[in-house]
Amino acid sequence: MTDRPFLEISQLTARLKGSGTPLLRSVDLAVPAGSVHGLVGESGAGKSMIGKAILGILPRSVEVATGAIRLDGTDLQSLPPAERRTRVGALTALIPQDPLTALNPSRRIGPQITDRLVDILGWDRARAVDRARQLLAEVQLPDPDRILRSYPHELSGGQRQRILIAAAFAAEPRLIIADEPTTALDVTVQKQILRLIREMQERHGTAMLFVTHDLGVVSKVCQSLSVLYAGKIVESARVEDFFRAPAHTYSRALLAASPRYTDPHGSLMPVPDEVMQAVRAEVAAFDEGRAAHV
């Protein structure tokens, strides 16, 4: 394992086409190989947007204005689209939020895992099916052959999420983007799935970008994190430092707002208006600073 980060994002700026409304504001991010980095923020903060920018699946209405996304040293933004797709397809994978909409309801599970291996990576089908069977066993699903023949509706939410995890690891990607992978699950199932993701990630040495709104989840699966507000990273830190003493006032407020049943009076605190005003002012000042440079 080298010291050079596997994923390196620098000065990534994205905006809405037409109006030019900024959605990501000079995002800098580095995830070393084999390490899990959390992206935290409230809805609309742009945390999923970063994952989509890497995968090249931003909505049509959004454009990347400036910045570099380096995977293993190569800047994806400088590649021609076809080459970018191949590279991203070979090196990365996504674990999506909602396991029901991510699976095609009218197809059996088997081809939904193996298609990618066959069509994009050029494996022969028998090898792909073997691999799928092996991964389903690895994500602790009993009777992999039955699962491969099942339709999504025949399986529980937890089973479907295990399948998506298996599918994500199938082609041995170097980077996995997990976009709120346990938000739709029960807390007891969430625990099993998070442990599974962490075990798989450690065993395969995969780098991971873990998008979540839940700081509790971050403290369990990530080594480092970035806190986003309005598409701007207000703080990046190692998990040990962050949970001991978050540096930014907004991060502190977010942590105090998080539910914690062990501390009913010290948690679930509303974010004070001053904190919101301060962080908005910071974003506004940033925008003005940029405008002044142009």
Partner: protein, 271 residues
Amino acid sequence: MSEPPSDVLYGVEHLHLSLPDLTRKPLLGPAPRIHILNDLSFTIRRGEVMGIVGGSGSGKSTLGRALVRLLEPTGGHVRFDGTDITHLGEGELRPLRRRFQMIFQDPMSSLNPRRTVGAIIEAPLALHGFDDIARRSAEALDQVGLPRSFARRFPHELSGGQRQRVGIARAIAMRPDFILADEIVSGLDVSSQAQVLNLLEGLVKDLGLTLAFISHDLSVIRRLCQRILVLHRGVIVEEAPSDQLFAAPQAEYTKELLAAIPLPDLDQVWA
């Protein structure tokens, strides 16, 4: 009311609820029934905030819907303020409906997108024959901390937290005795979650409301509720005062739930 007012607002005895399982219905003959609630007995006292917690499929929403009679129980009794409402017909329920209100999980789908906030709050008031509707709706907005000018806005113009406040305003404008809140903060960001919980806490005190608060999140429940029912597969596995439940959970399932919550704390033994 035949009985003298007691401190029990809701009395639930041996409540059963089952629904036909249409996915397994044979071509001829009745569908087999799924038993969703099995023999639940408990009371909710006046002025109390009762938490109902459980995983998905535990029956917590079904229980809530049976309390406000959006569903009719198949067995047992539900008494509201002394009146047995278990099998009351819609006509007899109507005067009571004003007194038990509901706030829904997803404010976007429970607020009509084509109507203004004002019209949304006023519609049930008009249906129940209230006078002075405009004033009541404006006061409800004040009570949930929204500016009165919001009455002219549409739901899509509001943030998630603001929409949920409209849902609360619509419920409290009716001056109910009881409110059922079904997962009302689970779709919100943590910062608005805290605000909505604080608001609800204040309203319960100020208006002397009785509240049943359904949630899957024990941290949220602890903040608000004095007593907690833990449901698992349609059965009450534990009922205890809040402090006691957290200090010494009795049921295996409660312990499992507590142990599974990822706290934002590196010292928690979780793995």
